[in-house]
């Protein structure tokens, strides 16, 4: 799947989540966790700087990587993840309403390879999706 196709799928996924905001139909509903799922064309990523927009994030964690982040605000939270990154869930957010994920959007701001080069990479090559664990 190309990057463009993956972005389209992500948009559809987020749109589907947004359709659920009205509460009709099946919805997990209530506070809970949501994963940030990474799609990357590389296999030697050493770190990511990720911006998540949207209010109400109450917790940030990662089960496989080191992570630092700014204090969540009404506009969102910025995360720095370090480790031998692989595609898949890289961090977990705690949100007040899992049924309203359309409020959130995740973007890779910077990406860097692992050592010894630590080259900066084009963030347009990455995709971050929000998905239920």
């Amino acid at each position: 799947m190309s990057i463009r196709a993956r972005r389209l799928a992500a948009s559809i996924l987020l749109a589907g989540m947004a359709c659920g905001d009205g509460g009709s139909g099946p919805s997990p509903g209530g506070a809970g966790s949501v994963d940030l799922v990474l799609t990357t064309p590389y296999t030697d990523d050493g770190g990511l700087l990720i911006a998540v927009t949207g209010a109400g994030v109450t917790g940030v964690s990662s089960s496989g990587y080191e992570i630092s982040f700014t204090s969540p605000t009404d506009t969102g939270v910025t995360l720095l993840i370090r480790g031998d990154l692989k595609a898949g869930a890289v961090a977990r957010l705690t949100v007040p309403d899992k049924g309203r994920l359309g409020r959130y959007r995740a973007t890779v701001l910077q990406a860097a390879a692992r050592g010894p080069g630590y080259q900066r990479r084009d963030p347009d090559g990455y995709e971050i999706l929000l998905a239920a664990p």
């Binding site: 050493g46 770190g47 990511l48 700087l49 109450t58 917790g59 940030v60 964690s61 990662s62 089960s63 496989g64 990587y65 080191e66 992570i67 630092s68 982040f69 700014t70 204090s71 969540p72 910025t78 995360l79 720095l80 370090r82 480790g83 977990r92 705690t94 910077q110 990406a111 860097a112 390879a113 692992r114 050592g115 080069g117 630590y118 080259q119 900066r120």
Partner: protein, 763 residues
């Protein structure tokens, strides 16, 4: 119309060859074959006759003068004179006319001619003067200058827009008639009484037969207009002739392209007397324009234009023969001022006893009387100061408001530089500020001001004002030294004599013989005057003897005394430095700096090379340094004291202390080589990981430019600090991402957890 002259009229019958208007083609005179224009161009012909000039309104560099040649056979030509040819004739002759033998190119010149022009134009190759300039009038006596004004109308223009009596009134003795104007300018010596006006007379050709745009056929219109009136006029009884036309003549060739009138002279072969007559040609538009009338009458008297020392002819408001339009009378319109002293002197209107002429050598103080309406008491009306070695001279005159000078731009003493070799604008205002305006304060001298002519050395000083003029002091004797300061040096203990000299310039009419003496401070035993006295300009020589003088600075003053000099006693201050042997020093003896690791841009640093002692101001030196690759000497050599500059480049240097020696060498100087120790510490900056992380997360933080540069240089080296640089640093140091405590207060406030750590909600 001319009854008063009938009984004196003596008619002279003219033969066909002298008939006015009969033109003999020049080519016919030389009987050339016209088969080849080139052949004609190479031919010349010599003609004898009257050569006269007419002042036009052409601005430089175009010739302001047009020349007519009336040959003795009755032919007439317009002659084109190069300035070099004109210069050899002399301005007085050029401006008033003279008999001449002229060698002309046989081929007609195209310049200035227009289709149908009756007077052919030829370029003059050579002009030989056969007579002195035509006389204007004897000076120092009441002289009659009667003019006959002839009203002529063109064959195709029937209007007669004014009557003879009206026109004649402008010549009258009442303000501002020409007789009144020139009576004031000449202090009653010139009278235009007896001037008459006759007309109208019809010209044989339409206006287009004489005038074409900017060109006027002076020869034809003069001959035809005077011939038309000849039956009624006995020309020899008149000083000059004014031709007044019923339409405009030619127009100015530059903006504002206005209609022109003209003045000058022209030879008339009428009534048995061939001579150059003062002439005026007036356009209809100017019939009652007194500025134009007085200006053109001035030309007819032989006055050229005057001006400022610039490129404009009509820029001086001091002379009717320049700008002219300076005062507007409510009845008569614009009126002009007096003419300048040079022109009055040309016409003989300044009594010799009232003109101060330099030559006495010493300074003279006297009352320089006003130019307009001068009182009869003691004083001079002008001063004339010849410039030695040239034909040029200065004129000095007082100009005060009054009479026709009521519209002057200022009151004061006015100076003109007169160069008789100039064919026009002979007198030019001395205007030291060179700002293009000869009417401002810089061009007029008032009490307390002094003018020293840099070319001649003349000194003109205005001492005080008086009701009738200014008290002035002027001298043609002055002197000046080429320098006012001299400095020399010697090595202490040296006994070699140090000779020196300075130029002395002596100005004035007796500059070659004026005697002077030299003096110096009596206590300066180390000075010996070689030249103690002399005459005229020359060199003053002296010697300095350092023998026995201890280290120190010795000062003497040389004074040149020239009795009667307007410039006092110029002096020269002579300083003699007796110096110790040469020594070298470099200060400071060491330089130290520290830079963070990764500093890329070279930093410039300097010290001072100084010499003391004899020869230190020119002593050569060179600089080098040790093996340090991080040093580059920017000033590897020099002469005399000055900065020693080098640069350091710490890029690529790992942390540590680096030391090198810079060495300055000056041959023969004690203290050489002088050394300077340069040390450089390259340090690793302190990096707060929390700050480095905060910069990436929130864009703020406390890392600073040095830290960012260091992290990039030791990271991915892509020119800016980024995530890769932080990862590299953490890996190199084995550090984790900062803890929550590290980030607090840095606008991040986040939490760091080791992999697998339990997430913690942010408060």
């Amino acid at each position: 119309m001319c009854s008063a002259t009938d009984d004196r009229r003596r008619r002279v019958r003219r033969g066909p060859a002298s008939a006015p208007g009969l033109l003999l083609p020049l080519a016919a005179l030389v009987q050339l074959s016209l088969a080849s224009p080139a052949g004609l161009a190479a031919q010349t012909v010599t003609v004898r006759g009257w050569l006269t000039a007419i002042f036009t309104e052409q601005e430089p560099p175009a010739s302001p003068l047009r020349f007519l040649l009336n040959d003795d056979r009755g032919g007439r030509f317009e002659v084109l004179l190069d300035e070099s040819v004109a210069r050899g004739i002399g301005s007085a002759a050029l401006h008033r006319g003279f008999r001449a033998e002229v060698e002309l190119e046989a081929r007609p010149a195209r310049l200035r001619a227009f289709p149908g022009q009756a007077t052919p134009s030829h370029r003059a190759i050579r002009v030989t003067r056969l007579s002195p300039p035509a006389a204007v009038a004897p000076g120092l006596a009441v002289t009659a200058y009667p003019y006959v004004t002839i009203l002529c109308r063109f064959a195709d223009i029937g209007s007669e827009p004014f009557q003879p009596a009206q026109v004649n009134s402008r010549m009258g003795g009442s303000y501002p008639g020409a007789d009144h104007f020139f009576g004031e300018l000449s202090e009653g010596q010139a009278s235009l009484a007896g001037s008459i006006t006759l007309g109208w007379y019809v010209l044989p050709k339409p206006r287009s037969g004489y005038v074409s745009g900017t060109t006027l056929d002076f020869g034809a219109i003069t001959a035809d207009c005077t011939a038309a009136a000849d039956a009624d006029v006995y020309f020899p009884q008149y000083h000059g002739v004014i031709l007044q036309f019923n339409a405009g003549l030619s127009v100015r060739s530059t903006a504002p392209f206005d209609t022109l009138s003209f003045g000058g002279s022209s030879a008339l072969l009428l009534d048995g007397a061939a001579r150059a007559y003062p002439m005026v040609w007036m356009s209809r538009e100017h019939v009652f324009n007194y500025v134009v009338l007085h200006h053109e009458l001035g030309h007819s008297l032989g006055w050229p234009h005057s001006s400022g020392p610039y490129s404009q002819t009509y820029d001086s408001r001091w002379d009717i023969m320049s700008r002219g339009y300076i005062y507007q009378d409510p009845v008569y319109g614009y009126l002009g001022p007096h003419t300048v002293a040079y022109h009055k002197d040309l016409t003989g209107w300044l009594p010799p006893a009232r003109v101060w002429r330099s030559g006495s050598g010493g300074p003279a103080s006297f009352l320089l009387l006003r130019s307009a309406l001068p009182p009869a008491g003691p004083g001079y009306q002008a001063a004339v100061l010849p410039i030695t070695g040239t034909a040029k001279f200065l004129t000095v005159e007082t100009r005060l408001i009054g009479g026709y000078d009521r519209g002057l731009p200022a009151e004061g003493v006015l100076i003109h530089e007169v160069d008789p070799a100039r064919w026009d604008r002979t007198a030019q205002v001395v205007d030291p500020d060179g700002n293009g305006d000869p009417n401002d304060a810089a061009a007029v001298w008032v009490p307390g001001e002094r003018f020293v002519d840099p070319a001649s050395g003349y000194v003109i000083q205005v001492d005080s004002a008086a009701p009738e003029g200014f008290w002035v002091t002027m001298s043609d004797r002055s002197h000046a030294l080429a320098a006012s300061v001299r400095v020399d040096s010697a090595l202490v203990g040296d006994t070699a004599i140090k000779p020196d000299s300075v130029g002395l310039m002596v100005f004035g009419t007796d500059s070659l013989t004026a005697s002077w003496t030299v003096a110096h401070s009596p206590g300066a035993h180390w000075v010996r005057l070689v030249t103690t006295a002399g005459q005229g300009s020359g060199l003053i020589r002296w010697e300095r003897d350092p023998g026995g003088l201890p280290v120190g600075v010795y000062v003497d003053t040389l004074t040149v005394i020239l009795p009667g000099s307007a410039t006092g006693t110029p002096h020269l201050v002579d300083s003699f430095h007796v110096l110790p042997p040469l020594s070298l020093a470099v200060t400071p003896a060491s330089r130290h700096d520290s830079v963070p690791q990764g500093q890329a841009a070279p930093a410039s640093v300097s010290a001072l090379v100084t010499f003391a002692g004899y020869g230190g101001d020119v002593a050569p030196w060179s600089a080098s340094h040790g093996a340090a690759s991080w040093i580059t000497v920017v000033t590897p050599d020099g002469n005399g004291g000055g900065p020693l500059t080098w640069s350091r480049d710490a890029s690529g240097l790992p942390p540590g202390l680096y030391v090198d020696t810079l060495r300055v060498t000056a041959p023969g100087a004690s203290g050489s080589p002088a050394e300077l120790i340069d040390s450089l510490v390259v340090y690793q900056p302190v990096i707060a990981v929390a700050c480095a992380t905060s910069v990436l997360l929130s864009g703020g933080g406390c890392l600073g430019a040095v830290g960012e540069s260091y992290l990039d240089q030791t990271g991915n080296q892509d020119g800016s600090y980024d995530l890769g640089d932080l990862l590299a640093y953490l890996d190199r140091k084995g550090l984790p991402l900062p803890s929550s405590m590290d980030l607090r207060g840095l606008a991040t406030g986040g939490v760091a957890r080791r992999p697998g750590g339990a997430p913690r909600a942010h408060p």
